[in-house]
């Protein structure tokens, strides 16, 4: 495989396409609402209409407006159909020939679409993620070719550093700095691969599905990012850690890896360079804590998935004691676009400290539920009110929760907060991996805090005492307060335990578990006090 061949594949692929494509979203959300049957009915309808050759049905990745699936997009320049039923297939096909069509259409110029700035999701929904040729046709693997032919590892790291990309898993650690640390960490002596690249696809925040969607819609984008990273840091082996609850993502990744190997885009001597990179999938077994990098490493090594104290950081001592680069799915998905368009292009998007875009899973009491990608710095108000369209019944939005069980609730009064790492932290939440849950006035914030604490309690691995037992006690206190059996002493104890877990837990799960409590206490203390005032056991 060389660049000429890559271009040839792309051209062949483009030439083989029918003039009209019916893009049928086959991501998990639309499949759950019947996309698979719809797709076969569209195929049948096309054949029956005698349009074979002039139009084709293409299974594609996420089309963004997940709450209104199944989604079908007619390309080029056709409508976007929403909430499509299998019975609608003949009407959609007839519409290709100019017949009037009653199937619900969505305005692509609506703010939900128009205000997005897709970088990671740019090609999502425009090609079949199960065919590498389609990915190559949209420019896939060109960044890897560029890197291997034109750039030294140091130059790659320099570009990533210059782009200002920060970790999309939530903490926002500068990606270039992490890569540089792994690159300069000495690999211990021994046989086999002695440096590793790991993609963290153990997404688990309630309401979050950014990584799942990226993996389902564009698996090669992540693989390409991993390969570039491996070249930059000097690794020859990669692991993609995906949670077991994402079978479609695992299936597509498995296919993607085997296709890439066939084309020589993974494996030995990629692009006929001296660079070797192999990727294996590791499937998680349902523990949220395995999203924590040291627990993830333990899990890949075949040990019990629980964290260990850092330092040493995985960049110095990770998988089997070797320097290991761990980045999140979305972080890797940003790599190829940065290489392709240049770090300056990327750095021009976003704010001074948070560059680029962020993918959010917009869910909850919001009209437009779905996957969005917006430039960093857009305000919560713009996201919730304009893209999200507010609440379905038009009542005022009360708060948004970002960052999942590690994050916090931000009240409507603070909706001018721009989404960047620092501003969200200053508002008492975190960027997190991208879950964004919208709440209206019917949401009880004590109940929300209780819910997230229950999640943390259930997901605590049990290794360190504050998290293991503290989450149980905090959940009991919150349940008591929410159910009208709380006292002022309970509230004081809740705050004491919050402090304890923050300061003494071993890993991020326990340290951040009090965040939903602390942020709701900060902004919605009146709701706690109302529960206490109505309490049957005021203490």
């Amino acid at each position: 495989m060389d660049r000429t061949e890559l271009h040839a594949i792309a051209e062949r692929e483009l030439a083989s396409r029918a003039p009209v494509r019916i893009h049928c979203c086959m991501a998990a959300g639309c499949q759950a609402t019947g996309a698979a049957e719809l797709r076969s009915r569209l195929d049948t309808a096309l054949a029956e209409a005698g349009l074979a050759g002039r139009a084709e049905v293409v299974p594609v990745g996420c089309l963004s407006l997940c709450g209104h699936g199944p989604l079908v997009s007619i390309v080029p320049d056709g409508p976007l159909y929403a909430s499509v039923r299998p019975d609608d297939a003949p009407a959609i096909v007839a519409a290709l020939q100019g017949a009037p069509c009653a199937v619900r259409q969505v305005d692509r110029n609506a703010p939900f679409f128009a205000r997005q700035r897709p970088v990671v999701l740019r090609a999502s929904g425009s090609f079949d993620p199960e065919r590498i040729e389609e990915y190559i046709a949209v420019g896939g693997y060109q960044a890897l070719a560029t890197v291997l032919h034109d750039l030294s590892p140091a130059e790659v790291i320099e570009q990533i550093t210059r782009s200002g990309l920060r970790g999309r898993g939530g903490a926002g650690y500068p990606t270039g700095l992490k890569w540089a640390t792994v690159a300069k960490s000495a690999a211990p002596p021994g046989d086999g691969p002695r440096k590793f690249v790991v993609c963290n696809g153990d997404e688990g925040d309630p309401g979050a599905f950014m990584d799942r969607s990226i993996l389902e819609s564009n698996p090669h984008l992540v693989l390409e990012g991993m390969a570039i990273a491996a070249y930059a840091v000097g690794a020859s082996q990669g692991y993609l850690y995906v949670r077991g609850e994402y079978p479609l993502a695992i299936q597509r990744l498995t296919k993607a890896i085997s296709q890439a190997r066939k084309y020589g885009l993974l494996g030995a001597q990629i692009f006929e360079s001296g660079f070797d990179f192999r990727v294996e999938i590791r499937v998680g077994a349902g523990a949220f804590v395995c999203g924590e990098e040291t627990a993830l490493i333990a899990s890949i090594e075949g040990r019990r998935g629980q964290p260990r104290p850092r330092p040493p950081y995985p960049a110095e001592s990770g998988l089997w004691g070797c320097p290991t680069l761990i980045n999140n799915v979305e972080t890797f998905a940003n790599v190829a676009p940065i290489i392709q368009h240049g770090p300056e292009w990327f750095a021009a998007i976003g704010t001074a400290t948070s560059k680029g875009t962020k993918v959010f899973a917009l869910t909850g009491n919001v009209r437009n539920t779905g996957l969005i990608e917006v430039p960093m710095g857009m305000t919560l108000r713009e996201i919730v009110e304009e893209l999200g369209g507010g609440t379905p019944d038009g009542s005022p939005v009360k708060a948004v929760q970002t960052g999942g069980p590690s994050g916090g609730c931000i009240p409507a009064a603070r909706f001018d907060t721009p989404v960047d790492y620092e501003s969200l932290a200053a508002a008492g939440s975190i960027m997190g991996s991208g879950g964004m849950v919208v709440m209206d006035a019917t949401t009880n914030m004590v109940e929300i805090a209780r819910y997230y604490m229950e999640f943390c309690r259930d997901e605590s691995c049990g290794k360190c005492i504050p998290c293991r037992v503290g989450t149980v006690q905090m959940h009991r206190l919150l349940s008591g307060i929410a159910s009208g059996h709380g006292s002022a002493a309970d509230l004081a104890q809740l705050e004491q335990l919050s402090q304890l877990l923050r300061e003494t837990s071993l890993c991020g799960l326990g340290q951040s578990a009090p965040n939903p409590v602390l942020s709701t206490l900060h902004y919605f203390r009146d709701e706690y006090e109302a529960c206490l005032a109505a309490s049957k056991d005021p203490g």
């Binding site: 104290p309 293991r468 037992v469």
Partner: protein
């Protein structure tokens, strides 16, 4: 080996490079509370009792896992740390069924000692009172999970010193339990050599010799370090 000079609770202390704060403090006569630490075993930093404050570090650091550094300023017993330690010990007492009055280990129990030393007069949290199992399928030893604090000292002693790995942990959160082999009764765990190292390593009365009654437990946690040191000298 290079010496490092640091201050622990205002006292200038000289320590060997690579030594942990815990070791350096102990050599200087400063006791930092521990529970999951046992001389001779690897450190896991799980109990969080040895957390200390370091000047210049926002985060509390486990003394067992933090190596000494030149010029380091360590505080081991601030009011904040004492309060956190009391809370952690109280959480343990609340978690399972630690009834000192009827325990074989009373008088020789690290949890009981910690409570007294840290000023735990009572437990502020709700007692969870779970129904745990007692496994006396082994002819010589037994384990009462009511008294287990999940320090994993048995797991490490068995794995690292005896080299057998009969013990491990299953389940998660407060449902986590130490188990033998693939979660079979101890008496059926064929890998167990009945060496008794887990008994010596256990800080509470969870692992006991069958037939011993209240406050009768005899054990020597130092035996683990002794074996480890003796092997180092020989091999």
């Amino acid at each position: 080996m290079a010496a490092k000079t640091l201050t622990i609770d205002g006292t200038l202390v000289s320590a060997r490079e690579g030594e942990s704060i815990l070791e350096a403090a102990r050599e200087a006569g400063i006791t930092i509370p521990t529970l999951c630490h046992l001389d001779g075993l690897s450190e896991v930093g799980a109990c969080r009792l040895c957390l200390v404050e370091l000047t210049g570090s926002r985060r509390l650091q486990p003394a067992c896992l933090t190596p000494v550094a030149e010029g380091m300023e360590v505080r081991t017993s601030t009011e904040r740390l004492r309060e956190h330690r009391r809370a952690i010990v109280e959480l343990l007492f609340a978690e399972r069924g630690h009834v000192c009055a009827v325990c074989v280990a009373s008088g020789a129990c690290e949890l009981q000692d910690l409570a007294a030393r840290l000023g735990v007069t009572h437990v502020r949290y709700d007692y969870l009172a779970p129904a745990c199992t007692v496994d006396i399928s082994h002819p010589r030893f037994g384990i009462d999970h009511h008294r287990c604090v999940l320090c994993t000292r048995c797991v490490r002693a068995c794995d690292e010193v005896e080299g057998v790995h009969t013990w491990d942990v299953a389940g998660r959160g407060t449902a986590a339990r130490v188990i033998t082999d693939l979660h079979v009764p101890w008496g059926q765990a064929t890998s167990c050599t009945s060496c008794g190292k887990c008994l010596h390593a256990c800080p509470t009365g969870a692992i006991f010799q069958r037939g011993s009654s209240v406050a009768e437990l005899k054990r020597d946690p130092g035996v683990i370090a002794l074996v480890v040191a003796a092997r180092k000298e020989r091999w």
